[in-house]
Structure formats: C-alpha cells, structure tokens
Symmetry: C2
C-alpha cells in the first residue's frame, strides 16, 4: 500500500510502497478515506516532536472503513465507518479501570505514542525494516493497522473527509474548551492562534455558551474564519504587539479563559497575563522539547491557573460520538475548516501550507 513516509528529519515526505502485515489479536485494518494534516505532523518532520521515531508513516487524523478484523475484536465489524483517534487507552491499567482514561500512561499507551503495538512491534515494513505509524495511527496511508481501542465507530452518513478532523484537531480544540478549561456559559474567552486547532477552541467555547470569544491572530483571513465559526471579537495582532495588550484592549481587566494554540512559551506567558484574577489559561499548543513555560509569579499567586492538555483531555469513545452529534445538530461545523483537499501524492504541499500558516486545514483524500 502507498504511504507518506518520513525517512529523514527536515526532508520532504516520500510517498512509497509500504508492506503491511495482518492484524493481530485486538487489532483492525482500516482503509483510510481521508486524513487531515496537522501541525503535529509538521513537528515530527521538523525534529521537534517527542513522538518521532524514523522511519515513520505520518498522519494521525484519519477516518475510513474497517477492512479486516484481528482475533478477539468484538466492538467493530467489517464495513464500519470509524475515526482513528489520537490514542487508545489500554483499558487495563489502574487509571483506565478507575475511569480516568486520560491519565492512562501504561506501557501500551507509551508504545502507542511512539508508533508501536502493545508488544513493542509494528505492522508496517519498508525494505524489510519496521516503520512506525505516528501515534499508532499513521493515517497518511491507504491502510492503517490500529488497535480496536483507537478506532471509534461513527454514523456512516457523516462524510469521512469531514469526520477525519475529529481524529485530532477538532477533538483537541473542542476538548480544550469543554474538558480542560471547562468554559462556562456567559464567560469571556480569548483564543490565541486560529489555525486548525484554535478554530475548534472557538467552536468549543461557543458550544459551551461563552458570551465573548476573542479570536487573536496575525492573519486576517483566519479571523474571518473564526468569526464564521463563532468568535465575537476578531483581534488582529500587529507585528510585535503583545497578546496581553491586544486582549485587554477588548476586555479590560482580563478574560476568564485564555487558550494558547501555537506552542510558543512566550505567548503562553502573554496569554496567562491576559486573564483576570481567577482566570484559567490552557496551553493547547505543543511547546518545543526541553522548553520551560514561565509565567509571572505574582499573577499566578493571585488566583490564576495554568493548565496543560494533551489532545484536549479527550476520552475517544466518549468525545468523538459527542462531536459527531454536535455536527449532526449543526453546532459543530467541519466543512469550513477544510481549506483544500489534495491527493496523497501532493502531501508535501499540505506540509508547506502549514509552514506558511495561511490555511486552516488540508485534508488528504484517497
């Protein structure tokens, strides 16, 4: 099968033939119909992601149709439409059994993060050597072998090229608002960085009933899109302008909730300083490996919170169906998030669009 492989950091992906092995116990084969391309894919290419293990099939925002079942798979059938989630909880560790699935840090999940099955192997081969599917998904490929726990069945009437976004960007963004921050009705929210994830923080804040939603970005086109998706106040950040000043010019005294959706430590600090006493800042963007996040001690001391979230605190089997229901009811919009649809052969164009930062989301369709 054809897959987009990263063989060396800082090099383009190569779309090439990858050998796929049969699914083992508890695993399924998904024929990928569509996969979004996310900034975290770019971070792997740029050698700044802790999950990188080369060679790697990138992609972690896929949806498709179940093609084959391994032994013991009971919750899915061939032909089911599924979203491949960002992670699959092990289901057996103390945290999972206690219902705290987000905290699962079992060996199964650790392996999963590095593109390995629970036994430490992979089902993909290139020239006879193992290839890692990114976070156990590897959705920039015609086929993916994933654990049953990582695939979430969805209504087959939902277009797969929209549903795939629930694999990462939409769940992360909406989850950051609903799970990590627990945005409250009537509150004021600032979303700093209105790319593929940030736009979904805007949607999550709207779904949660926020009264003021400030969308902050340097690019006017992204602000237009944010307004279409529910932002009440577009804030066009001038070159060199502090995020703190830009937000407090709109909401003096500071916002109840601020979200940093870029991954820059200094922007996290500025967003934090833009919240009011009692406010919450959520770092949604992935910071560079080894970086510290520093905030003003006096502001922290004055009843502020700084919250980190890996993928929006989502429990796949709880949150992906919930998102699909929001979509069905019209409160979650997916089509406007898609800037362009490309075939797999043009996957490097999608990565270039992430570098220039001009588009919301590129989706690779198979």
């Amino acid at each position: 099968m054809q897959a987009a492989v990263l063989r060396e950091f800082h090099q383009p992906l190569e779309v090439e033939e990858v050998q796929i092995e049969a699914p083992q116990r508890g695993e399924i084969v998904v024929r990928i119909a569509a996969s979004g391309v996310c900034r975290s894919d770019l971070h792997v290419q740029e050698e700044r992601s802790p999950v990188a293990r080369l060679p790697m099939v990138l992609g972690h925002e896929g949806a498709g149709v179940v093609e084959e079942l391994g032994a013991g798979v009971e919750s899915l059938a061939v032909g089911d439409h599924v979203v491949v989630a960002l992670f699959g909880p092990c289901g057996t560790c103390g945290d999972c059994r206690a219902g705290d699935i987000v905290s699962c840090m079992s060996e199964t999940r650790q392996n999963n993060m590095f593109g390995l099955m629970p036994d430490g192997t992979t089902r993909l081969r290139l020239d006879g050597a193992p290839v890692h599917p990114m976070v156990g998904s590897g959705s920039l490929a015609e086929l993916a072998v994933v654990r049953e726990a990582q695939a979430v069945k969805i209504d087959p009437e939902i277009p797969l090229d929209q549903a795939c976004l629930a694999g990462c960007g939409v769940t992360t963004g909406v989850g950051a608002a609903l799970n990590a921050a627990q945005v409250t009705p009537g509150s004021s929210v600032a979303v700093v960085g209105c790319g593929g994830v940030g736009l979904n923080v805007v949607q999550g804040a709207r779904i949660a009933g926020a009264a003021r939603i400030l969308a902050v970005d340097t690019q006017a086109t992204k602000l237009d899109l944010a307004s279409d998706l529910g932002a009440t106040d577009p804030v066009h950040l001038a070159q060199g302008q502090s995020v703190t000043d830009a937000i407090q010019a709109v909401v003096p005294g500071g916002v109840d909730f601020a979200f940093e959706v870029i991954g820059k430590p200094e922007i996290v600090a500025q967003a934090f300083a833009a919240t009011r006493s009692g406010g919450t800042t959520v770092m949604v963007g992935s910071p560079p490996s080894g970086a510290d996040i520093a905030v003003d001690g006096r502001l922290l001391f004055s009843d502020r919170k700084l919250v980190g979230t890996l993928g929006g605190g989502n429990v796949p089997q709880r949150d992906i169906p919930r998102l699909m229901e929001f979509y069905r009811q019209g409160s979650l919009k997916l089509e406007p998030l898609i800037s362009q649809r490309l075939p797999l052969t043009q996957v490097n164009e999608a990565f270039e669009a992430l570098v220039t930062g001009e588009l919301a989301r590129s989706v690779i369709v198979f």
Copy 2:
C-alpha cells in the same frame, strides 16, 4: 495604644504608641486578644512583599473582641468575638455581587491590601503621619480599626489565642487543599514545606479524605508535628536532594496533588514535576516580587495543572465559620500549631523564629 511598627525595611519592629482615630461608617474597633506572626509579616520586613507601605503596623492573623462600632454597622455588636480576616470583599463590585468574592479586585480591596480604608485613608497615626495597618488588619497592636466585612464573628467559647490562626495560616493552608486544589478522597498529596501554613495544608488534605499525605521538609521536628496532624508519610529532605525525587521515591509515578508552601520558584518546579499526569500543583507560598515561575513544558503539556492561590481562595464569611466548626468537631487542631506564646514586647523574637524556621507558629498574646 501599643503597636508593633515597621519604620524601615530590614530593621526590627518597634513597639510604640500609635494614635488611633474613631471608626468611620462601616468600620469597627477590635481589641486584639492574640495575633499569630506569619511569614508574610517577615516578607514585609525583608522588603519582598508587594503589600508593604511604611510605616506599617504588621500583623494580619488576629482575633479579639469588638470594642466600638462605626455608623451603619449592623452585623456585629460590641462584645462579639471576631477573627480579623485576610481581606474583606467590597460587596459591591460585579464579582462580589456575582458571588465570586475571591476575585474581588475593586478599589476597596486594592486599598485594603495596602493598608488603607476604601477612601484611601487610614485610622492610625504616628507623630501625626499616617501609618498603614498590614492588609487592613494590623493585628500586632492592642487595637485595630477594620472594615465590618473583614471581621468574622465566631463562637465565644473558642479560645481567641487559637482562633486567631484562622485569620491567615489556617485558612490559607486548609483553603489551599479544599478550595484551590479541591483534594479528593483517596488521593495522594505531597506538602512541601511544613511551617505554619504547610501544616494546615496537611490538615486540609486529611479533612478532604486524602489517603496518602506526604509531608516534605528539611527539619525533622516539623515532620513530627505534620505526622501528629495527619501526614501519613514524613519525607525528610536531605540537603541538596530534589523534591521530585524525594516524593517519587514514596509514590512512584507521582502524586495527585502537590503543594509548594515555601515561596521558592525552583521548588514549585520540582513539586510540579513530582505530580502524575492529570495532577495538580498549588503554589501556596508567596514568590519573590518580579520572579517568574517556570515549569517543564512537556510535563505541563501532559495534562498537569499549576494553580496559584492568594490566601487559599477563602471567602471569609464562608470559610472561617467552617474552620471553627471543624475545630469544634476535633478534625481541625489548632493548639499543636502554636510553638510559643509571647507578649507584644517580644515580637521581634517571633520574627527571629521565622528566620531560623524552627518553629511552627508564634502567637503574640495581649
């Protein structure tokens, strides 16, 4: 009346005659029976507190008897026993009227923090010039003029030399556990720094039903006291040993809740690194002015929370009566917190005990 005045930073307090003016509308005079001496008093003396305005009558952990009422005071009567709280909400700003009293940042509260009445004046005079009572309390004095909202009536059967601790140390410590962290039953908790406030975090964690309570300190005597108050695991920190290592040696994988109760940015970072994924770190200690708090970005990103709290997120009229009820029921212990009782003339000995860090709490009795 006699009061302990700080005239110059880094100098001893002077116990001297201070003139007191009559209470104005909404104000009362309290005859102080006892006042604890807290590290925040020391921070003023050491020129590292943002609330310092010299000359200042120190003390903010007092209890006493209402001696005189200003006009319009309806909730208190002469003879009532009261604890003077760390702050008195204004009651009229949007936050107060919305019930979010902790977030009150009205001009009244700002003035209050700097030892001023709502109109920006003070009722204390030294050589004809205004003197600031620390955070509107100034309890290291025979008398204090405070706003009605800052005095909380208590059961007169509770000894005032114990009740005074509810003015700051006990409310802050217990509040950090109950309000800021919301410690859950069965959870694991580490308290780093077992001084007057840290010991009360231990008590708060016990009241909240924590299963494991690690008390971390360099001084064995404080660990003994922490064990008496409910700590399950005393952790004697060796010189140069990392707090992270010391905690994770007891709870591998990290604790659910960590509290830094010292005020050192590097210890906040170590405590943060000692929590598990999904864990919460509360910075209870007051960091030096101008200091940033920096935590490992990867650990933050992996679903951890950093929470600041000014005085434990307490609402005086809600939390002080609750603490007094815990005391009455025996679940909150006050007497063991008191290391020594001293007359006002020996107030500087209480400050020296804070510098050496060997005692839990000194209480000045009048």
